[in-house]
């Protein structure tokens, strides 16, 4: 116990790897054993995160539960991890969604052991990014997360998986190149990769660097960071990998991809771009807001134009993540004001909320895909009487995605709109077009799947949602409702973090 008390974060971070190692020695044909081992193992980080949450003091500025170990002395990189209110929220999201994704994968029968191991490794990769307080460590985990996801899409995906997984991998790696160079430049310049130190050093750095004025170098490095994260979010026009990757990934893969991996990009903006480049962020905030609004509008239109249920949901992520970036851009423009704090609160809450509702939506698409073996919206129709419970849950989750007041999405979208209105009035008004079409694509999904004359083809073939599936979606629904009605429990942590961080 003593060890866990003093190493709470690293225990959460590396427990999935340990579990994966153990699983490697389990017999590969004992599917039941493998599934349950993976599921129970993934519950441990979740429970520890609850402990973490309860011990976390939101009133303290800076990072808590810090751990720092010698790692790569020659280049002054240390294994430094810690959490504040922002990362804590994301850690909670990750450790919550991973067990649910594993539970959702109980129907996978192909190479179960490897599949489960990849999920556990993925969890560590994602958690590492959220906990890292050292730029190099951040980058290492950033890249580690890619590998399991690549194989999950490439090996367990559907028809077009080779194209999708390659696009996902190459695109993200291409974005990371600039990030790596910029990180190395900082490391060489200051002889440290430690984030809290760089927060002080880099924004105040003046003079010349490599024969160029510091401002120019900073601008270039700023865009290197921004492009890497923009691809991950993804921001229009870097978004086209997402519909392919989501559509081809296995259900649980899409859940984590939409639920957590996209948040890595947004987290990068909040953790690195804004604090390290306050002046550049302010200067280019307008451009970011423009891209955000394009994502909101064309994400919604793109979604509305789909006939593939999963692709429709995939595009909706672009639309929703656009609000995160809009909030970030507004905050970057007017950092320190109440408007900025509200916009940031909205952005972070939107990250969490989208994690819940997008994971839920992808799961629900998976439920019906598993039964019908098609995602073509035109092949469904009138399924409500066949799957009444599923239908109710689908409407509930869709409404969360649509931003119905009383459910979580509304709170965060409202805060983003409120926060960015005084800062980017025109862009905020334009974003309403996207919000309008959010309604259009959500209702299109419900219309094509549940409503209309019953498609007789499915009578007797489709069964309602089962107990295991209910257990996957129920926690998400409870959280969706509880944040919608009483967001203060999570907003208190986020709000204090945002107030102290910026």
């Amino acid at each position: 116990m003593e060890f866990i008390n003093t190493h709470l974060l690293s225990t959460i971070l590396f427990f999935p790897v340990l579990a994966a190692l153990v699983m490697a020695f389990l017999p590969k044909d004992e599917h039941k054993l493998l599934r349950w081992t993976a599921f129970l193992a993934s519950l441990v980080p979740f429970i520890l995160t609850l402990v973490l949450w309860s011990r976390f003091d939101p009133n303290v500025a800076g990072f808590q539960f810090e751990e720092q170990y010698v790692w790569y002395e020659a280049i002054h990189s240390t294994f430094h991890i810690g959490v504040d209110g922002l990362s804590l929220t994301m850690v909670l999201l990750t450790t919550l969604l991973t067990p649910l994704a594993i539970l959702a994968s109980f129907t996978v029968v192909d190479r179960v052991r490897l599949y489960m191991i990849l999920f556990l490794l993925l969890e560590t990769g994602m958690l590492g990014v959220f906990m890292a307080l050292d730029l190099l460590i951040f980058f290492v985990f950033w890249e580690i997360g890619l590998v399991p996801m690549y194989f999950l899409i490439n090996q367990w995906g559907s028809k077009n998986r080779n194209y999708a997984s390659l696009k996902f991998m190459i695109y993200t790696m291409a974005g990371s190149l600039g990030l790596l160079l910029a990180i190395q430049m900082l490391g060489v310049l200051f002889q440290t990769y430690d984030l809290p130190a760089l927060y002080q050093l880099w924004p105040n750095f003046e003079g010349t660097l490599m024969g160029l004025p510091a401002a120019t170098v900073k601008t270039v490095a700023f865009w290197a960071f921004v492009i890497a994260f923009a691809i991950k979010v993804p921001v229009w026009p870097f978004h086209t990998w997402l519909p392919d990757a989501h559509t081809e990934a296995p259900t649980a893969g899409s859940m984590l991809l939409a639920g957590v991996l996209l948040k890595l990009g947004a987290y990068g903006f909040l953790r690195l771009v804004l604090p390290l480049y306050p002046a550049e962020s302010e200067r280019f905030a307008g451009a970011l807001a423009f891209l955000a609004v394009m994502a909101i509008i064309f994400g919604a239109f793109g979604s509305y134009g789909q006939d593939d249920f999963k692709r429709l949901v995939a595009y909706s992520s672009i639309n929703h993540m656009g609000f995160v970036l809009l909030g970030i851009a507004a905050a970057a423009k007017a950092i320190g004001t109440v408007d900025a704090t509200i916009a940031l609160n909205g952005a972070v809450l939107q990250m969490f909320n989208h994690g819940l509702s997008a994971a839920g939506m992808f799961f629900l698409v998976g439920v019906i895909y598993e039964r019908a073996h098609t995602r073509d919206l035109n092949a469904f129709g009138g399924l409500f009487p066949l799957m009444p419970v599923y239908g109710g849950i689908l409407i509930f989750t869709s409404m969360a995605s649509l931003g119905l007041p009383g459910l979580n999405g509304f709170v965060s979208e409202f805060l983003v709109v409120r926060g960015s209105w005084p800062i980017f009035t025109g862009y905020t008004a334009a974003a309403m077009l996207g919000l309008l079409f959010t309604g259009a694509y959500i209702l299109k999904g419900i219309k094509k799947v549940l409503h209309g004359p019953l498609n007789e083809r499915w009578v007797g073939h489709l069964t309602d949602i089962n107990v295991r599936e209910l257990l996957v979606i129920a926690p998400l629904m409870v959280l969706i409702l509880s944040i919608g009605v009483w967001p203060a429990w999570i907003m208190d942590v986020i709000n204090k973090a945002m107030t102290m961080l910026y």
């Binding site: 695109y171 793109g302 009138g382 309008l436 209702l443």
Partner: protein, 711 residues
Amino acid sequence: MATETLIWLLPLPPLLAFFLIVLFTRKNKALSHTVAVSAAFLSWLGGMIVFIRALGVEHLGQEPFHSTINWLPTGDTWFKLGVMIDPLSAIVLFFVAWTVLMIFLYSVGYHNFGQPKGDHDRPGLPPHGATVTDEHGHSHTVPSVEPMYSRFFAFIGLFAFGMYLLVVSDNLFTLFAGWEIMGLCSYLLIGFWYAKPSARDAAIKAFMTTRVGDVFMLLGIAFLYSATGTLTFTEIFQPEVLHALATTQTPVLGLSAAGLIGLLLFIGTVGKSAQWPLHVWLPDAMEGPTPVSAMIHAATMVSAGVYAVIRMFPLTSQDPNTMAIIAFIGAFTALFAASIAVAQNDIKRVLAYSTISQLGYMIAAIGIGAYVAAAFHLVTHAFFKALLFLGSGSVIHGMEHGVLHTGEHVDPQDMFNMGGLKDKMPITFWTFLIGGFALSGFPIVTAGFWSKDEIFADAFAHGYTGVFITLALAAFMTAFYTMRQITLTFFGEPRTAAAEHASETPWTMTVPLMVLSVFAIGFGWVGIPEHFPGLGGILPNWFHEFVGSTLAEPPAAVEFSWIPLMTSLTVALGGLYAGWAVYRNVKSPQEDWLQIHWLQNKWYFDEAYNFLFVKPAYWIADTFTYKWMDRGLIDGILHAVGNIAGKIGHALRTYFDVPVINGAGDALADGTRKLGISMRVIQTGRIQQYMVSSLAVIIIVGAVLYYFFIA
């Protein structure tokens, strides 16, 4: 219980009923409706207690029941939410509680509780009837119970929650929440029979059209919150806050901040209350079951839109430009919708257009500053329009009974298939007549007369002649189409066998009709102007005093004038007479000279919107965004980059790797091999030869070393 606590609790019973039905009792029809109706009753009871206590407070306008909590941290401060009952919300609460309870009760009968299960009914379609055999061995077709009976009560429970939430809100945030929750319920209930494509499409149309208004409203809320730091009504309506908003200019249409916020919020109302140009969804919404039409699309949700404008009056009235826009939209809608109503043949569609038109009256009244008159008409209209919708539902129900009995294939909603129902359905007839006369503004006795008269008086007294004339014309049409409806439905001879066999509906349906007719008559008497000839002053003008006190400066009662009164009498009586005179002998649509295509097709707004917005939107989504931009341009660039990278790689291989690197490598390897081959001759395997070779090497090396280093 403290009144504030009670107000907090008011919306909860129907919400609880929703969850109880969805989670536990959905399999049991009787239990489900018991839960729902009891919940509606509890909220009604609480509402009445709050209302009565509100009457007892002397300066309720200045000191309303008010209670807030901290809801959301925003920086160093909290965003607060709370509940409030002031005179305006008290009066709205009163009619909401009554109409909701009546409609819940009515739904039990409307969905054929107690009737057998249908022979071929399936969820998602209206019940088709069941065959039963009586004691004589004759088989009859009778109405069958709704297959999704419990679900209906769950939905209306959630709906009632939304409405109560909206009424007790002390701020725009929860008002908007209630507003949107009702929007969702409206969508779910219009599309209740979701397997019908027409119902499904109507539901989407309703949701999307109102959402157009809602996104503007959301901007208005964000603007207001940014500008004032609060969304609580009492704080916004502080004189210094209002003054600051009124004196801030915005670049839009020359409006002040107050005017622009008011306009944005008003666009929300245009959607919700189905005002032109966002009126198109309401007539289609009649696809839903009739209690839904009565509750959502007559008494509560569409009224909520008007309520919001009345609520924001202190803000909106700061800018005359916004007020002019509001007055124009209201007056135009009142006339425009009435013109369509005269040419409709579906009994519910007439009422739908009538609702749009009457809501236009209220909006116009607010636009000309007639605060109390708008609120008064809001209340009386809620009662008599709910009554009319429920009455029409009763008529349809009676007709369906006849259709099932006779097996005749006629549309039970088409008024030309009716006639003579006066004797078949007496309770329905008398209550419908009361409702219809109230709607027409039949003098003195009906509530509609008093509220409509007050709007006329206000418009005339304040010199809004254009609005006055428009509304008078609309009032004439209102009386005309109402009497047309009553004549076609109830008078004359039955025109079909189904009408011949129509029968009165059960008590659960007729009792609500009777209760609502009491209000359709009596509620007008609480607002008789003081100077009205003969009657003024007998009863105090309580409504004006009470609701007027909501405002910081209660509006003065207008001077009495004969002109608006005579106008009001003429249009109401003239319209009623004309309607009767024209339609008492009309037997079929062919004889009806008002079946004008332009009117029947609602001025072709649906077609125009389809052409201008719906189709282009899909084209932008499917073709432009997805096929051209994402698949074509962006992915095209990506693939091009990929291809170029591939080509460069290929070129490197063909022109550099292969000739230079491979060439050099190969050359090296070849050279080595050739050297090896040529050297092989000395590898003989004989020790003697090696010894000789070694000796030779040693001698040579020794000689060389000697030569260079020693010599």
